[in-house]
C-alpha cells in the first residue's frame, strides 16, 4: 500500500473529492478506496438480504390480511434494496457470484442486528420502528457519499424506507392501545430491540479505526456517534407518543447539550454477535444457503430457455 500512497493520481483524486465531485465507476481510484467501498456496499447489501428473514418469519402468521400485505411489501422492498446495492458493488469490479459466495461462507459480514430472533408479532412493529428507523438515519447520511452509484442507490432506498418505519410505528401504536397483554408484548419487544438498534451505528468514534480515512474520502459523512445521537434524539419523543418506555434508566434530556444523554452500550455483546455468537447467526446463513440451492433449478431453467430462443444475449460467453 506504500506504493499506492506515492501514486501522483492519489492527490488529484483527493482534490476531486474535496471539491465535492462524485466518483464514477470508470474513474481512476486508489485501490484502498475501491476495497473499502466493496466491503461496505457488500455488507450493506447482505444486511438487506439477510434482513428479510426475521420479518419474513411472520408473513404466514400476520394477524390480518392488511398486515400480511404490508409485511410482504416491506420484505419485498428489502430484497430490492439488496439488489440495488449488489449492482452498485458490481460497478467496482466484483461479481455477483463472488458477493453471494462471500456472504454464504461468512467472509463478509452483515449487520449484527439480524442475528436476533423475532419472538412475537410485536417484534415486527419494533423492527420497522427502531431497526428501519436506525437504518434510515444512517442511509440519509449516505445519500451524499462520494461514490455515485452508492449514493444513487441510497436515494432510491431512502424513498422507500419511510413507509417501513411508519408501518412499524402504527403497528406498535395499535398494540400499545390494545389489551394489557398486547401492551406488554409491545413493551417486551422494545426492551429487547432498543440496545441492538443503538449498536447498528457501529463502534464509538474513538475505537472505529477505519472511520478517519472513510471520512477523508467522504464515503462516510457523519460519524457513528453523531448518527447514534441523532437516532436517540428522534426516537425518544416517538416512544413517549407510543406510551412505551425505552429500557435505559440513564436516558435523560440534557438541557445544556440539547440532546438526550443515554447509558453505556454493551460493546462486548456487539463483538460477540458480530463474530458469530449471536442467537441466530447459524440459522440465518443456513436459510440463505438453502434458498440459494433451492432456487438453482429455476436459474438453470431460465438459462436453458434463453439459450434455446433466438435472442441470445450478446454478453453471454457461451
Amino acid at each position: 500500500m506504500a506504493g499506492a500512497a506515492a501514486d501522483p493520481r492519489e492527490a488529484a483524486f483527493q482534490a476531486s473529492i474535496d471539491a465535492e465531485r462524485s466518483v464514477e465507476p470508470r474513474d481512476w481510484m486508489p485501490e484502498r478506496y475501491r476495497a473499502t467501498l466493496i466491503r461496505q456496499i457488500a455488507q450493506h447489501a447482505h444486511s438487506e438480504i439477510i434482513g428479510m428473514q426475521p420479518e419474513g418469519n411472520w408473513i404466514t402468521r400476520a394477524p390480518s390480511l392488511r398486515r400480511k400485505a404490508i409485511l410482504l411489501a416491506k420484505v419485498q422492498d428489502e430484497a430490492g434494496h439488496g439488489l440495488y446495492l449488489y449492482s452498485a458493488a458490481e460497478t467496482l469490479g466484483v461479481s455477483r457470484s463472488e458477493l453471494v459466495e462471500m456472504l454464504q461462507t461468512g467472509r463478509q459480514k452483515y449487520s449484527s442486528i439480524f442475528n436476533y430472533p423475532t419472538l412475537t408479532w410485536a417484534d415486527v412493529g419494533t423492527i420497522g420502528w427502531l431497526v428501519d428507523g436506525a437504518a434510515i438515519t444512517n442511509q440519509l447520511a449516505l445519500t451524499k457519499t462520494s461514490y455515485g452509484p452508492y449514493a444513487r442507490a441510497m436515494v432510491r432506498i431512502c424513498r422507500e424506507e419511510s413507509f417501513h418505519q411508519r408501518q412499524g410505528f402504527e403497528l406498535l401504536a395499535q398494540l400499545s392501545r390494545g389489551t394489557p397483554a398486547q401492551r406488554a408484548m409491545a413493551q417486551d419487544a422494545v426492551d429487547r430491540w432498543w440496545w441492538p438498534s443503538l449498536m447498528m451505528f457501529g463502534p464509538p468514534d474513538g475505537s472505529s479505526p477505519n472511520s478517519a480515512q472513510s471520512m477523508k474520502w467522504k464515503i462516510k459523512r457523519v460519524s457513528n456517534d453523531e448518527l447514534r445521537q441523532r437516532f436517540v434524539d428522534m426516537t425518544v419523543p416517538q416512544a413517549q407518543a407510543l406510551g412505551l418506555t425505552l429500557p435505559d434508566p440513564e436516558l435523560n434530556w440534557n438541557e445544556s447539550s440539547g440532546h438526550y444523554d443515554f447509558g453505556p452500550i454493551d460493546w462486548d455483546e456487539f463483538a460477540k454477535v458480530l463474530n458469530g455468537d449471536g442467537p441466530c447467526n447459524a440459522e440465518r446463513i443456513r436459510v440463505r444457503r438453502e434458498a440459494d440451492s433451492g432456487g438453482a433449478w429455476v436459474r438453470e431453467a431460465a438459462r436453458a430457455w434463453a439459450a434455446k430462443h433466438s435472442h441470445p444475449a450478446a454478453g453471454d460467453a457461451a
Partner: protein, 95 residues
C-alpha cells in the same frame, strides 16, 4: 454458484410518464431480455415509477473515456458566443 455469474448484466431505463424521455435507473442480471424486462418491472417500478421500460445489455454500451473528460468536453468552454448571455441587448425588450 457459477451459473448466476453468467447471466448477463442489463441496464434499465424508465419513462416516468408520457412525454418524458427514458432515464437510466440502475441495472440487474437476467438470462434474456424478456426476463430482464420482467425483473425490471419488479425491481424498479413497485410504486408506479414508470410507464415504459427499456433494457439494454451492459456489454453493448460504448462510453467515452473518463480520462478524456477534459480534452473531449473543453472546446465548448471557449465558445461563449454559443450562449445567449454572451450578447448585450436592451433589457426591456424581452429578447
Amino acid at each position: 454458484m457459477k451459473e448466476r455469474g453468467s447471466w448477463p448484466l442489463w441496464e434499465v431505463f424508465l419513462r416516468g410518464r408520457r412525454g418524458l424521455a427514458h432515464q437510466h435507473v440502475g441495472s440487474l442480471h437476467a438470462p434474456d431480455w424478456e426476463l430482464a424486462v420482467q425483473n425490471a418491472r419488479d425491481l424498479y417500478t413497485r410504486r408506479g415509477e414508470g410507464v415504459s421500460i427499456w433494457v439494454v445489455e451492459s456489454a453493448v454500451i460504448h462510453a467515452s473515456d473518463p480520462d478524456d473528460g477534459g480534452p473531449l468536453f473543453d472546446p465548448p468552454a471557449d465558445k461563449v458566443y454559443r450562449h445567449p448571455t454572451f450578447y448585450e441587448v436592451p433589457e426591456d425588450l424581452k429578447l
